[in-house]
Amino acid sequence: MYQNSLIDFNPYNSLSAVEVGKHLYWKIGSLQLHGQVFIVSWLVIATLLTLSFLGTRNLQRIPEKFQNFMEFILEFLQDIAKNQIGEHEYRPWVPYIATLFLFILGCNWAGALIPWKLIHLPEGELAAPTNDINTTVALSLLTSLAYFYAGLSKKGLGYFARYIQPTPVLLPINILEDFTKPLSLSFRLFGNVLADELVVSVFTLLIPILIPLPVMILGLFASSIQALIFSTLSAAYIGEAMEGHGEE
């Protein structure tokens, strides 16, 4: 409804408009899916798989150009996991943390860099999959599952003793933390990506030439930081679940 008043003020309303919340709906049985999220996600997944496949063909002891680049990325991701989870237990978690980082970075940058407007959808438009709250909530619930699994597999049912440490008075706060951790993870990523897209689209609506560029560059930077934060925090929660209170 407020989009209509914006269009009335805008003398160029035949050239551009801003809309929020329109999705391309796919029906499967009685369920509805947001099609545009799936399309871009599949593209990002295909890109990541292709890059991984190309990087691991003809592995050599002394890495060549592309393999070198992939190993550099891998070291960076291993560092994230190692710093948060600790020297001894980080190896099994590197794939999960690395996939989180690469998928979120790929989604955000694909949404910002690729000219999706060229592909016309019957309803809604293609954009970053992480601008949909469903995507980010799914990712943060995966992290929730991951740190529960980490704690339970390491300590068994003794994991639940964590809730009354250091003092039992903190029990309600610790329980609340189990809800606020995925909530804050999802909202941080969703809010950042959607806010960046909205700012760029409103700027483009008002002044299409040159002015949106600094905001788009800021959006690229901020979304890559958000990917790093999401994966770092996930690793931190996993590390915290696996270790006792007060250890480092």
Partner: protein, 82 residues
């Protein structure tokens, strides 16, 4: 009744973002000040300090983003209007 709800939602959305920007603004300024002091005191760890500073800035930014999400949902996904 509908116009009162709409007016209230618009005021609430403006207040949400405006007030949400105060705290993190102060916090980020303080963090940056301490980071700059750390770099001035020991210039060879500038890389680590910059990395930690950026990470902390993003955490504080997310608090403002929560306010923005509330404002956006009041404007575009308001359950009490229409």
């Amino acid at each position: 009744m509908d116009s009162i709800v709409s007016a209230a939602s618009v005021i609430a959305a403006g207040l949400a973002v405006g007030l949400a920007a105060i705290g993190p603004g102060i916090g980020q300024g303080s963090a940056a000040a301490n980071a700059v002091e750390g770099i001035a005191r020991q210039p060879e760890v500038e890389g680590k300090i910059r990395g930690t500073l950026l990470l902390s800035l993003a955490f504080m930014e997310s608090l403002t983003i929560y306010g923005l999400v509330v404002a956006l949902s009041l404007l575009f996904a308001n359950p009490y209007v229409g």
